[in-house]
Every structure is written in C-alpha cells, then in structure tokens.
Symmetry: C2
Subunit: 314 residues, 2 copies
Amino acid sequence: MSRLLNGTSYVSSDAREAIEKAIAKVGYVQNTAARNLVTRRSRAVGFVVHEPHELFLDDPNIGAILLGANEVVSEADFQLVVLVLDSERDSQRVADYLQGGFVDGAVLVSARQHDTIAGAVERLGLPAVFIGHPPGHPTIPYVGIDNRSAARSVTEELLRTGRRRVAMVASALDRDSGSDRLAGFRDALGDRFDPRLVVDHPLYSYASGLDGARELLRRDPAIDGIFAASDAVAAGVLEALRQAGRSVPGDVGVVGFDDSAWAVRCVPALSTVRQPARLMGRRAAEIVLGQIQGAEVEPGGALLDTEVVWRASA
Amino acid sequence: MSRLLNGTSYVSSDAREAIEKAIAKVGYVQNTAARNLVTRRSRAVGFVVHEPHELFLDDPNIGAILLGANEVVSEADFQLVVLVLDSERDSQRVADYLQGGFVDGAVLVSARQHDTIAGAVERLGLPAVFIGHPPGHPTIPYVGIDNRSAARSVTEELLRTGRRRVAMVASALDRDSGSDRLAGFRDALGDRFDPRLVVDHPLYSYASGLDGARELLRRDPAIDGIFAASDAVAAGVLEALRQAGRSVPGDVGVVGFDDSAWAVRCVPALSTVRQPARLMGRRAAEIVLGQIQGAEVEPGGALLDTEVVWRASA
C-alpha cells in the first residue's frame, strides 16, 4: 500500500478538516482539483514516456502500449494523462508533477537505470508499474516479455534457414530490452558468436538499421543473415541492403523484433517476434489501478508471451 | 481573456479566502493540486488527441505535432499532459477533466464538427487552439495549412508528368483537411474531374489506401496517376499497385500528403506535400501560452507554409 492511500502524506488530518469545513461553509465548489484535496484522489493515472524524439516517432509500440493502457484506465473511469520526457528539464518537472497530487499512479515506459522519474515515484510510494524492467527499482512491479529467450528463438529460426554468417544490429544496450536481445542472439550462436559481427546504436530507429547494416557489410561482405533489434531497425537494414544491391531473403535473411505496423509494410514483409504491445499496456494499467484501489504490490514481473512470426524476409 | 483568469469561474472569492485561511492556519501543504486551488493555475497545458486507434498508430504527424508542442510548453516551464480520446465515454471524461482545473489551456488536435471537447472548452472560456480548422467554433483560434491549395499544387505536378487518368483516394471527408484536399484535387483537374475516379475512406490509414486503390483499379484499369490523401494512405496504394503488378512510377504515378517519416521509407520514395507538423505543434503551444499569460485571443487561423517535395513515386 502506498503512503498516499494511507493518508500519511500530503495533508495532515487537521488541514483536511479545516479545508473541508471551509469548503462546506461556502457551499458548492466546482473545481475538481479542489475536491481532490479532500478526497486525495485525482482519478488520473500518469503514462510517462521517456523517449528521445526520433524514437517516439519511429516506434509504433509506444502508441499501442498507450492505447491498451488508455482502454483499461478509461473502463475504470479514470483519466490517463500522458507525459512525454525529452530532456533533463522535463524529468524534473514531470517528477514534480507526479509528486504534486495530479495523478494517483503511473505507468512508466522506457525508464532507464538511475531514472529521475522512477526514483521520485519510489520515494513517494506512488502506485506505479514499469513497462520493461529497468534495474535498480525492486519495489516497482513490471510488465514485460522475456527478450532474451525471444531473441534466441528468432535467431535460431534464422540459422535454421541455412545462414552461416549471421550478424546483429543491436540497439539500446543501456536498457534491459536491448541488452537482453543481444544476450539471446549470443545464446543462439553459441561457439559461432563473433563479436565483430555485432554493431550497436543507441536508438531502436530506422537510422540505426541503415548505418548499422552499412557498417556490417564493410566489416564482412559475406554476411548472409542479420538480426535487427527492432522492426524499425530492420526497415533501415532492408534499405541498406537494397542500396548495396543485396537481395532479401536471397542473399541475406533479415529478422526483426516487435511485429509492429512496420513489419507487414516492409518489402519483403518481415519475419519477426510478436510483442503483445497493446496487452502490455492493458496489463500495466490493471496493476496500477489495483494498487490505487488498495491491492498489495506484488513485487517482480509479469512476463507476457511472445511468438516468432515468419514472413518473407528470411 | 478567459473567465478562468478573470476569476469569475470555479471558486467564489469567499471560498478562496476561507480555504486560503484554512491552509495558512495548518501550515505547509505539499499538494500542488491544493496550491492550485489558491492560485487557480495548474501550470499544465492539455494536448487532446481525438483519433480512432488505428490512425493514432498510423499517423506519425500526431507524434511530431505533440513533440513540437512539448518543446514549447516545456521551455515555458509548463507541463504538457496528453489526453487521448477513443470513445464517447472518453469524450465526456476528458471534457470533465478540462473543466476540473487540471489544465490552464488546451491544444485540440483532430477535432470534428460538433465535438464534445471543443464545445466544453468554448463554454468554459478555457484558453485553447485547434490544430486544423473544424467548423462551428469561431472563438477558438487555429493553426493549420492551406490543404486545398497544397492538394491542388501536388495534383498539378502529377498532371505535368503527362498522366491522363488521375484518381484520388480521399479520406476523412468529415474534416476540413480531408474535404479541402479533395477540393484541391478537383480544382487541379477542372473539366477533367471524374467523380468515378474518387473513392473515399473515413481514416487516413494504410488500409484505406490498400482498399481504395484496389477499388479504383476495378473501376478503371487504365488509371495512370493516384493522389493519396496522406502518406499512410499512399503506402497502402503502393502495396495495392505492387500486388496488381503495376510499376510505380512507370505504369502509375503516386503522390501523397504530409512528408511524414513514411514518405522516404516507401519504395519508391514518395512525392508528397511537406506539412510542417512539428512547427504546427510549436505555434499552437505558443498561442495557448500567450492566452494563458493574458494575451488577447486573435480569432482566425495561422496558416503555415507547405511545399511539394518531389521524389521517385511520380
């Protein structure tokens, strides 16, 4: 249970009584924010997106997670308020906002280690849940997928098509999702793992795929398979291969990760890992609403199932 | 000036005094929502997105507008809170939220005629601005582009490549952007306009383009040019043509609208209209912040410049 709900925070009961009395004396008050002072409820849930600009535009998963969360929060007659962080300045202000009584809980997307927001949420005891699993915040539950085993599965499928020089464009190694996908790739290759065939870029973006595949082709023109850390990265990889005159899947097999809207629009359509983004958003919202309504926080994570989806790119 | 800022709304001055006194008596109150009751300022600006699910995921413009608005609101040390509407139930709750003192103003994206939110904002006198220009709300200023003349320009470019049977996949005719783009297409064709060569779908989506182009090819297999009402629609048109064995731009020239992230990733890259989405978001935020800080509302619209960008698809 959060301190918020136990009433040990924010407003002393003396203050609350005095304010209730004042409000009662003067009659009707239309301002909901004022009423919240009494009920200590905003009936709002924050949805905090910590993404650099480019990725926010490139990554359709965030939209799907958001819409899933919005559905559940709306069904409970709460308001989802989305807060986008794009700078350190944003971080401090969003932390203040979360602490200011404007929301009863928060879904945190794409948090990083030593995240200002996650730290603030933890200190405050605000009901919260992560999408994904940043290290260092054991009291906050999370919803995610097993990135490592999913990455291993899709790489094994790629190897099963007979590829012999399989490379990876890794991304976001500062996050659990990025580092776990690389670990799964390595698991699948075992003794055949060659660190020279891995390039990494900070963002899950089209540009990362474009640059990454060019660099890989320079390092080893005989590459015949590429695992891209996301579908957006894979779209960039496909373009780099097209520009280099390599056919897909003839010369090079390509697999992605996400099964986002991008996957079916790539030419050829991507073989990839289906990530249940909308369901992750729904589940995360359910967990936060449960906490707000007084459920015990169950530490640890809920890992949702993924599935390898085989299409035309490998 | 809004009634909000003039203090004629929300809380009577008796109530305000009584509450201020109560708060003063008990000392420090940490809750910002409580402080707002006194200052009647939340230092937050709403960003209301009224889109059906599919479109929210398909349309990178919304993300770019949001990020532009977020930059400006953040620079002013206000918090942007994004509210997504996906049902009538959402509409009523978001309207309540906007009326509840949680935000000092709002940017309204994709409002339609007889929009619940726009109506509520107008009744409340909340500082607000539209992205786009829904009819029926003359007191709310807007930021937009001249869709009609931009659509005319890009269609004229397409005609200049020698196309003789030019069709359109129109979308969202219930909005100014959709109906104006169709009007511009018609302007460009003049006497050659053939209503049988226009199909329309409710959403600016990939699926609209896919279905729309298939229908057009059934109606007239000799079509040699298609204007798609957005880049997402154009991406679907390209796929339908590919499936039908038509080469682009050899057999059919295709142009889109938006110059979104999609445009350069289409194969072939799209000729399209560049819409300054991020700048629209910035300008809209500036207008709302101006109103919040007491500027007079200048009725009418700010139309930003567009540009035809010619690439490989026509």
